[in-house]
Amino acid sequence: MLNWFGRKQAPKDVAKDRLRLVLMQDRLAVAPQTMEQMRDDVILAISKYVEIDRSGIEFTWKDIDRKRALVASIPVISVKRGGISNDRTAQRSY
Amino acid sequence: MADKQDVSFKGVKEGLYLTLNGNQDFNVLKELLSERLKSAEFFFQGSDVILDTGDTPFSLEQILEIQQILAYPYGLRLKKVVRAETGQAPKEREPKAKPKRQEPPKVRSERNEEPREPVTKSPVSYGKLPETLLYRGTLRSGQRIAYEGNVVIVGDVNPGAEVKATGDIVVMGSLRGLAHAGASGDSGVAVVAFSLAPTQLRIADVIGRPPEGGAGVAREPEVARLKDGIIVVEPLEGTRWEGER
């Protein structure tokens, strides 16, 4: 019944999605903390040059033919001018 | 004065490493040994034992006596007698002081023994082990009893389990696994079971298996014996037990 109205995902798609997620973690075997740290470091590096929207950041693994790719989508708000600031704490207010 | 240290057991790869303090009075040692075995009966049952007499040599009679205590009723087999110069047992994990529960007793991996040269003779082959080993419980797949003598099992022998004896085998239950009687060549032995439905039966050097398709299992105790080189199965009732072996 829900097939027509509620558009509940078919069980096989649920399975597929869950598998994808699990496998991504399995294949990588990178601890979540490590992931987070990596993410923070990347953000830090990028935000030296551009102002970014932190809430819109996507940072995930994609599987392409049993090869893993790290895919980051980072919305840029504006390009920083006046060169590189070394003051990391001041970046947000720039 | 009796000391707990006079008799000590350690679990090692080959079985149990038993150290006796030769300076202690032999009768005291025997008593201590019996006590220890009794208190840990289930834990120890069926293992191979390596006896370490420390720096004091034991007489043949004494070793025999120890062998008897171990063998009956605990089914422990004295495999080797050593005299550790250091007086220290090899470093292996100590068994947990208390018996966990009945570990599948008789089951030992016989990797170091020769499966084809049926039952390993203990290096100290003087003296006689009790003729019959009594085993209470079900022998499950992968478990194995090998004994120099007769074996009586009060319980079932499941498929995948093996019983090997140089003498007769009696299963007071269902025999569905493998039984090998007369493992060292005695062809006058028998295999008896309340329900005889083995995967395979061996008597001396003869190997038999149930007929294809299976004629069904008799609902009465049966006995399998060697007759003219083939294994013959008959109802137990009415068969005469030929003499005493």
Partner: protein, 264 residues
């Protein structure tokens, strides 16, 4: 040329042993000389599935340890010519054999057989390492379930790391009707995730249970759908191009109604 193929899965209960038995029989029927090796030491089962359990005298461990000659331990199948079984030991554990010994054994078996099929134990420990040692190629068995596919992925990774360049996949116990309803992952879904080559799909078939009970592989039963699938896979292993069976099975109107009523 002869080939040693290890049949593995990671997860237990997906049908490795059944697959091994059926492929063994199917290959032998095609005229190949085949030996099936039960590498599941301590938990042997291939003998029972083949109905040869009461013929075992010597086993793999006996051979490896030198208590008997290899030929003595090989059990000839009672139905098909050119098919042999090397049973596992039941009263010993996996550590009784080393990968080096297995390699040696596989070499010896390859000399006299066209196909050596190794039934791998579940898991990724010693037993797995032993089973893949000396194998030329690997067939991974999975079922269309999340857990089985996940383990198949893990095994694929491990096999690739061990130098198996192209493990192939068998999808077992596919239920075409459930697939049609979208209740079960379909073949493309699984292939998409695992990204390895498919060598066959075996439909779920109740006859497998019967055949296992009897100790007669389903391949011997002409009418068994699973048996047909295994026959096809065997021919593919021999290098033939065999089209995949059409497994699509639409629900009948009646079945659809029944399901609706149940759900509604």
């Amino acid at each position: 040329m002869s080939e040693t193929i290890v049949i593995t899965s990671g997860k237990g209960g997906v049908g490795k042993t059944t697959t091994c038995a059926n492929l063994g029989v199917a290959l032998a029927i095609q005229g190949c000389k085949v030996v099936m090796v039960d590498a599941d030491i301590g938990l042997r089962n291939l003998d029972v599935v083949m109905g040869l359990e009461n013929r075992i005298v010597y086993d793999l461990v006996d051979v490896v340890e030198g208590y008997c000659r290899l030929r003595q331990a090989l059990i000839k199948d009672k139905r098909v010519d050119g098919l042999f079984l090397l049973p596992a030991a039941q009263t010993k554990d996996k550590n009784a054999v080393s990968p080096e010994q297995m390699k040696e054994l596989m070499m010896a078996l390859k000399e006299e057989h066209d196909f050596v099929l190794v039934d791998c134990p579940a898991g990724i420990e010693q037993g797995f390492k032993n089973a893949i040692a000396g194998a030329d190629s690997a067939v991974i068995v999975t079922t269309p379930e999340v857990s089985a596919v996940r383990d198949a992925d893990r095994i694929t990774g491990l096999l690739e790391a061990s130098g198996f360049s192209k493990p192939e996949l068998i999808i077992n116990r596919l239920k075409p009707k459930m697939v049609a309803r979208g209740d079960m992952m379909d073949i493309p879904d699984i292939l998409d995730i695992l990204a390895i080559d498919l060598v066959g799909v075996v439909p779920d078939d109740e006859y497998i249970v019967v055949s296992t009970n009897r100790g007669e592989p389903a391949v011997l039963q002409e009418s068994s759908r699973a048996g047909q699938a295994y026959r096809n896979i065997a021919r593919r292993l021999m290098g033939e191009q065999v089209p995949f069976m059409d497994l699509t099975e639409k629900e009948s109107v009646w079945e659809k109604i029944k399901r609706m009523v149940k759900l509604g």
